[in-house]
């Protein structure tokens, strides 16, 4: 009987110690939840890891896609969302609490192709739209020859390859095509998924890259990071200023070297930037201006603001290592200004 009692005591002791240990670990610490875009996920997880090391604040980020991030933010189940495409005015109107867009870094869309034994090719906006509209169907088309006079282009069918899954990459790419080609705008338009006139679809960057690699004559658009990391052959594209620009971290960063509106909700495809790569775009963190929602504490609100502030300032140093383009200094200043407007039920944080 005594033995039995002792065992019970040990058991209670065990339970209490577990409670103590877990209680200590929590230690009144704020934990932040975020959800959204998959494109910046590698950068965000690096940033959040560094942030945790520095400030001991844990951040859980679920890369469920921009759409899911916006949905979760709308349901107020996360502290911040993340998106590759900015929200339209119509959509923003549906929210009673203002949603702020804070740019974190830049991404771009590279065009990879499979032409055996041929080096770098150049394309103009018109010919690129022509290819994806199905108006240019052979690689030795006169219009392509005219841009690439030094190359003997083969008599090969062009196979255009696109992303079959809804993605920010598709949004930026179709947004660009819609800007440079009236035909594209009226026939297809832009969005995360569109009704492609021709071509083949691959799932994810890897899917597109796989089809391009396997199909002689294929050309497909790929997130610039995937293309750079896998050292794929990419097209030099003519920008608005008439320069043929290759997709690189520098040229992507330059693309934002233009006038950006105060709320940063802008597409920076086909900008006036002289050496900017024309198919570039921001990726944003989305947060409510009034941080007092869903019974959040002021500490949580403060932490959210501090984290995002850190991401646009100190956190920027981690971008180039992972092939993301940093915010140009002017835009980073704008982002800081947006963050200043965050409040907690009217109280400035």
């Amino acid at each position: 009987m005594i033995n039995y009692k002792w065992r019970l005591n040990y058991f209670l002791l065990f339970i209490v110690s577990i409670l103590l240990v877990t209680g200590c670990a929590n230690n009144n610490q704020v934990e932040l939840q975020g959800a959204g875009a998959t494109f910046p996920y590698p950068l965000y997880s690096k940033m959040f890891h560094e942030y945790y090391k520095q400030f001991n604040t844990k951040i859980n980020y679920q890369a469920i896609g921009s759409g899911g991030g916006i949905r979760q933010l709308a349901n107020k189940t996360v502290d911040f969302g993340a998106s590759d495409a900015f929200m339209s005015d119509a959509k923003l109107k549906k929210f009673d609490n203002k949603i702020l867009h804070i740019p974190i870094c830049l991404g771009a869309v590279a065009l990879s192709y499979n032409l055996p034994d041929i080096g770098e090719i150049k394309l103009t906006p018109d010919t690129l739209a022509g290819i994806f509209l199905g108006q240019i169907t052979k690689w030795n088309d006169q219009r392509l020859k005219a841009i690439n006079p030094s190359i003997t282009l083969p008599n090969l069918d062009i196979v255009a390859v696109y992303r079959s899954d809804g993605s920010g990459t598709t949004f930026i790419f179709t947004d660009y095509l819609a800007k440079v080609s009236a035909g594209w705008m009226s026939k297809v338009g832009y969005g995360k998924s569109v009704n492609w006139p021709i071509g083949l679809g691959g799932k994810g960057n890897a899917g597109v890259a796989g089809i391009v690699k396997q199909t002689p004559g294929a050309i497909g658009y790929i997130g610039h990071i995937y293309a750079l990391q896998n050292k794929m052959k990419v097209v030099k594209l003519r920008n608005k200023s008439g320069n043929y620009v290759e997709c690189s971290l520098q040229s992507v960063s330059y693309a934002a070297d233009t006038v950006i509106p105060a709320d940063t909700r802008v597409s920076i495809t086909d900008t006036e930037a002289k050496y900017g790569y024309p198919i570039s775009g921001f990726t944003w963190i989305l947060a409510y201006q009034n941080q007092n929602f869903n019974s959040r504490t002021e500490a949580q609100a403060r932490e959210t603001k501090k984290l995002i502030y850190w991401m646009v300032t100190e956190g920027q140093q981690y971008a180039p290592g992972l092939q993301y383009a940093k915010l140009p200094p002017v835009v980073a200043k704008q982002a800081e200004k947006i963050l200043d407007s965050i409040h907690y039920a009217g109280k400035v944080l």
């Binding site: 993605s167 338009g189 998924s193 071509g199």
Partner: protein, 299 residues
Amino acid sequence: MKSYKPIEFVEIKELLFKRLLFLCGCIAIVILLYLFYTLVSESWLSIKTIGFSFVFNHVWDPVRSHFGALPFFIGTMVTAIMALIISLPFSIAMALFLGEYFKEGKWASILKSVLDLLAGIPSVIYGFWGLFVLVPLIRQFEVMIGVTPLGVGILTSSLVLALMIIPYSASISREVIALVPQELKEAALSLGATPFEMIRKVILPYAKSGIFAGVLMSFGRAISETMAVTMLIGNVNKIPLSIFSPANTMSSVIANEFAEATEALYLSSLIELALILFFVTAVFSFIGRLVIKKWVISS
């Protein structure tokens, strides 16, 4: 010191056990109904807005909010039926071999476990294999016969689907074939039937309902397969014109576009696709049940 359990206690235990089983059965029904309810309520917006033309419309344009399911419906049915036709001779041959000719022994058990292993391989692996091995082969074939050499398309995905479903129908059919009573087979042989005649006239008629059940199960898998098909079908939202055309299936368009579908009508249309998929599977399983019942009664 033997202890006796009072009879009431045993009875209560039996009753509880029976209730528990009944409850488990009910849960399955509730889950099915709830699933159906969710699909209908979530797709209500699209059903209301687009109406019945959703099923016949052949344009899928998220930008302009035109949603039609026809290309995906055709893509799904064509790939699944082709996969079934390709797989059928192989799976029945394999089942006969394992169920009749080669029932026991080391090699038979090795073959059986290989079959089970094939059934357990994740579909993304089949997809990769298809992309790197089958696609170049098909492209060479397409160059030979003079169609646009894309490599991906209905034929490629049907072939991989067939590979994926062979283990399913083969292992179910094998078990049914092994269950054919020995007396029946011996009687046929003693009357002078050759083994082939015995298989044709005794085993296959006796086992046909079981074989059909296996085929039906594999068909269900072919209809709902997502990952491998997405990787190989070319993801083109148009009605396919030949077996070499790229196409798209209902499950793969849902998997592709669901995560980024932000507009209410868009999301609702995707869920309506899921509802159609639900109906298709239900109809086939219902027809299958009827056929099996009829065959069982007639034999």
